[in-house]
Amino acid sequence: MTAKMIRWAAAALAAGIALTATIASAEETVEYPLIKPTRQEWSFAGIFGRYDQAQLQRGYQVYKDVCSSCHAMSYVKFRNLADEGGPGFTEDAVKVLAATYAIEAGPNDAGEMFERPRLPSDPFPSPFPNDNAARAANGGALPPDLSLIAKARAVHRGFPWFVFDMFWPYQEQGPDYIASLLTGYQDPPEGVEVPEGTYYNPHFINGVSLRMPPPLDDDLVEYSDGTPQTKEQYATDVSAFLMWAAEPHLDARKELGLKVMLYLIIFAGILYFVKRQVWRGTPH
């Protein structure tokens, strides 16, 4: 009887497919990004992954010299640069650095607003006073705040990869995407029309082109530690920095994770023997 049932089910399924197959001829929509991000080796990937302090410092330099002229990063405070598991600036260096930017404060006793140097507790400065000003200065496109960009731009690898990603933790889709985007600008292939004022980039998540001009070029930022000053290196470094900006407690999380997992596994082992001992002599 079982076999019969299965045959019926198969027949019904085939009929259903035949009925609906006509609809399938509809055009398939284009999925962005056209090219999936290139997977990179990140120091902070995997169970034992930790941020590379030197890389974060270089990344901050790229952010500061290049990205910050258009992009805000308002959730990150200067003091975070000295936090554990971050770029590892000294507190004095942070004070000096913060003081090079001004912030509006007040009102003072006369009721007027005034400018004062930033303190470590102040956020990174925003290049534009508000979103509308940012749009107006950038041809109508709003340069997104970069505080969370590395977690907000994760490109899913799709089925079946996400199943494997679950068991070997792979959470670096965000920095992969950013690095690919920053180095992915190219001339549009023949026949592809790119809207005026935008730049073709098959790695862009939301179309064929974006308004941000290619931001990086070789020798654009001067590294003091002898790291190669290439576009690719800049892209990688700044992506790592953006990951830290989005997930500043990653080091602490993975470190605590090791302890907790070890504890739970040992505890489970003890409990297994307890259970065996309890059920001993009781067939079940």
Partner: protein, 187 residues
């Protein structure tokens, strides 16, 4: 293989149960800590900036109050009479003999000099929060010409020392420094 066959088994079972229990208790205690510690001030509160105050406009007999870490800090330019009153009080008449000044030794006496700013005996900087139960005392009131707390009647003198009433300690003096003759940084 019933339990009665091997007399050692109950011990083994007890041991396992105790080990599991102890392990569990330790785990629960460790897991509880983040849930307690989250109530402590967060990183942004701990990083709260110091305050800079311009006192050039504060004439003798006047005071200004600024906020520092959510509390009012009074900066008083005392008159000569007030300073004199503060100096003549005998230490043994004080309820709290300690200076309570974050800028001096914790064991320093509550002399007027130890309460006032170093080198500027007319300037008194202190947190204006009653040491009894946290109310804000009123300026220039009370029988000692200093501060008077309206909540439960604590009376402070011209150097902010407790003289009468339920408050146990002198008004505390926060850490501060003169950046220039007329500029103070609190914190």
């Amino acid at each position: 293989m019933a339990e009665s066959d091997t007399p050692a088994e109950p011990t083994r079972r007890d041991f396992l149960l105790h080990a599991a229990g102890a392990f569990g208790v330790v785990g629960v205690a460790a897991a509880a800590w983040p849930f307690v510690d989250q109530m402590n001030p967060d990183a942004s509160t701990r990083a709260l900036a110091s305050v800079e105050v311009d006192i050039s406009g504060v004439q003798p007999g006047q005071a200004i109050t600024v906020m520092w870490r959510g509390k009012p800090v009074v900066i008083r330019n005392r008159t000569e009479k007030e300073v004199e009153e503060g100096k003549t009080v005998k230490l043994e008449d004080l309820k709290d003999p300690l200076a309570r000044n974050a800028n001096t030794d914790a064991a320093a006496d509550a002399t007027d000099a130890n309460r006032a700013a170093t080198g500027k005996e007319n300037i008194l900087v202190m947190t204006k929060v009653c040491t009894h139960l946290g109310c804000i005392p009123l300026d220039e009131s009370g029988e000692f010409g200093g501060w008077f707390c309206p909540c439960h009647g604590s009376v402070y003198d011209t150097a902010g020392r407790i003289r009468k009433g339920p408050a146990p300690e002198n008004l505390p003096i926060p850490p501060y420094a003169f950046l220039s003759d007329t500029k103070i940084r609190i914190g």
